[in-house]
Amino acid sequence: MAGFFSLARFAAMVAKEFVQMRRDRVTFGMMVGIPLMQLILFGYAINSDPRHLPTAIWDADRSPFSRAVAAGMRNSRYFDVVRECAGEAEADELLRLGRVQFVLTVPAGFGRDLVKGQQPVLLLEADATDPSATSGAVGAFRALVDQALARELRGPLAGLAAAAGPVEVRVHPRYNPEAETRYNIVPGLMGVVLTMTLVIITGLAITRERERGTMENLLSTPVRPVEVMLGKIVPYIMVGYMQMGLIVVAAKYLFQVPIQGSLTLLFVLSFVFIAANLAMGVTFSTLARNQLQAVQMSFFYFLPNIMLSGFMFPFRGMPQWAQAVGSVLPLTHYLRLVRGILLKGNGLAEAATHLWPLAAFLAVVLVIGVARYRRTLD
């Protein structure tokens, strides 16, 4: 008589699991793919001390001293000077659009005041929507300025260099002056939540019909594929807006995130992002054979989205290839759009620059989805 535990029965169970594991290619792919993906993302792509941050300089002084500071920034690994601005308005615009992370303003008369020992002001404005992206560079800036000026302040001016702080460095963290990470996280969460729920839900909605056999019944009726697709998607668009509303209310009243821009604009433009996610879900559901696979695919999609979009880690801290991958993902652009509107008060013109990549993504995925859906009819 077999006792409480039979090695033979246990072995039968183990053998069966292995056979099933081998048959289910998607699950097998997940088991190998997820750890690989995480290794690569965490190991190579993620850098919590970002360097080479794009910087614009507005030099109203044009003295050897101001040029020395600019050269110092160019030599530093923290700053990449991408633009010499012609005026304050241009610098401001670049910051608002998110083209640059920093703007250095050298006021007129900087060199003259420096020589006079009047401690002129150097203004470093930072896009602080993501405080973790700027803190390292800001910390390095002070030392960088001193070093750059030390080389200029020689001979009769050496005394100035010796004095503590020949210039006053003023750092102005724009859009998030208290450097509150939650100001960055909470609006970003909107994109993350939408991505997670909408892709999974629509992925399931259509595979469920197929798995339960109800799809066959549907296809035997006069209902058109387009009617099925849209009928499935529309309710979830409403779900998406509900989630957005919830997060906006929480952001405002629970987390006291200052809302600078127009909520109406945000809700209108978010339509493209919601649609892109739903289209992704529908496309997964045409590829997946069952509900489990649909969830696995969604997860596979979700992981790079959350890691490479700039939600968890500063986008500019990632190497070029990771930024390139991130630029394809809709969440990356939506995060910029949401943060732009909510934190920087972006209007339609500025927000639109983040909108077209979303629209392009939507178009491509939709084409794949519809093509796949047609084929599965036969």
């Binding site: 056999g213 035997s220 006069p222």
Partner: protein, 306 residues
Amino acid sequence: MNAPEVIIDARGLTKSFSGRVVVNQVSMQVGRGEIYGFLGPNGSGKTTFLRMLCGLLRPDSGSGACLGLDIVGQSDRIKTQVGYMAQRFSLYEDLTVTENLGFIARIYQVPRRREAVDEVMERMGLTRYRNHLAGALSGGWKQRLALACCLVHRPRLLLLDEPTAGVDPKARRDFWAEVHRLTGEGLTALISTHYMDEAERCHRLAYIAYGNLLAAGTPEELVAAQGLVSFEVQDHDGARLAGELAALLGVEQVVPFGNVLRVSGRDREAMLAGLAGLKARGVDVAEVTSSLEEVFISLMAKAEVN
């Protein structure tokens, strides 16, 4: 009553899946008001054939018409007049009986929807289960609900794919009574099944195996056409006698039926000669008419040889 019209007219329908021919040049004519039985072993192509008729699949070659409409070009118009019941229960288990019927009625754009749904529920005896979830119904009631969903848009043709699989005998009998009532009202039904007793309830039958249509006609015609001869042998010592019978010349099938063994084959003379030996030992042997089951098993055995 109108002159008999052809409701299903399939000619040489062929369908392959990844190089394997599943339905091979099948032709079939079904007249108005007929109950046409569709038999064949599992995987013989019955489901594929039915799916081609209602536009779920596109035939590779051949042509067909349902209700006078082309099954390839006009499948949208066919769908509105056909009630298709898939082999698997394919309604929403998380919707109630009324909700399922209401949904189907809306998809078909049935006029005066509520009345239509109430009427079909009444007819199928589903009214007292109207607020039950479809998933909570027993097998027999699920099948009734599925039939009700096929009827709610008042189709002219029913395509039922093994509608009674896994349903108890009483429910099956009720189901067939309902199908007979419906065809009496002018509906046409093409029904695939595995059950011989159900086959005998059909006006006409077709037998398909490995994608080929092997025989068609009324049950009596099918039995006569095969020229099968059957005997009933009184069984006294079971297994040993069955083995002995199977070894006789001309015997193709030996099937135990309670206390008798049924023996059948095509060569009557050879069988009589063999059975004479048994008679001499005092075993009761009587010639009987062949059953549909014997005819179909014999057809399938022949198809396997080919």
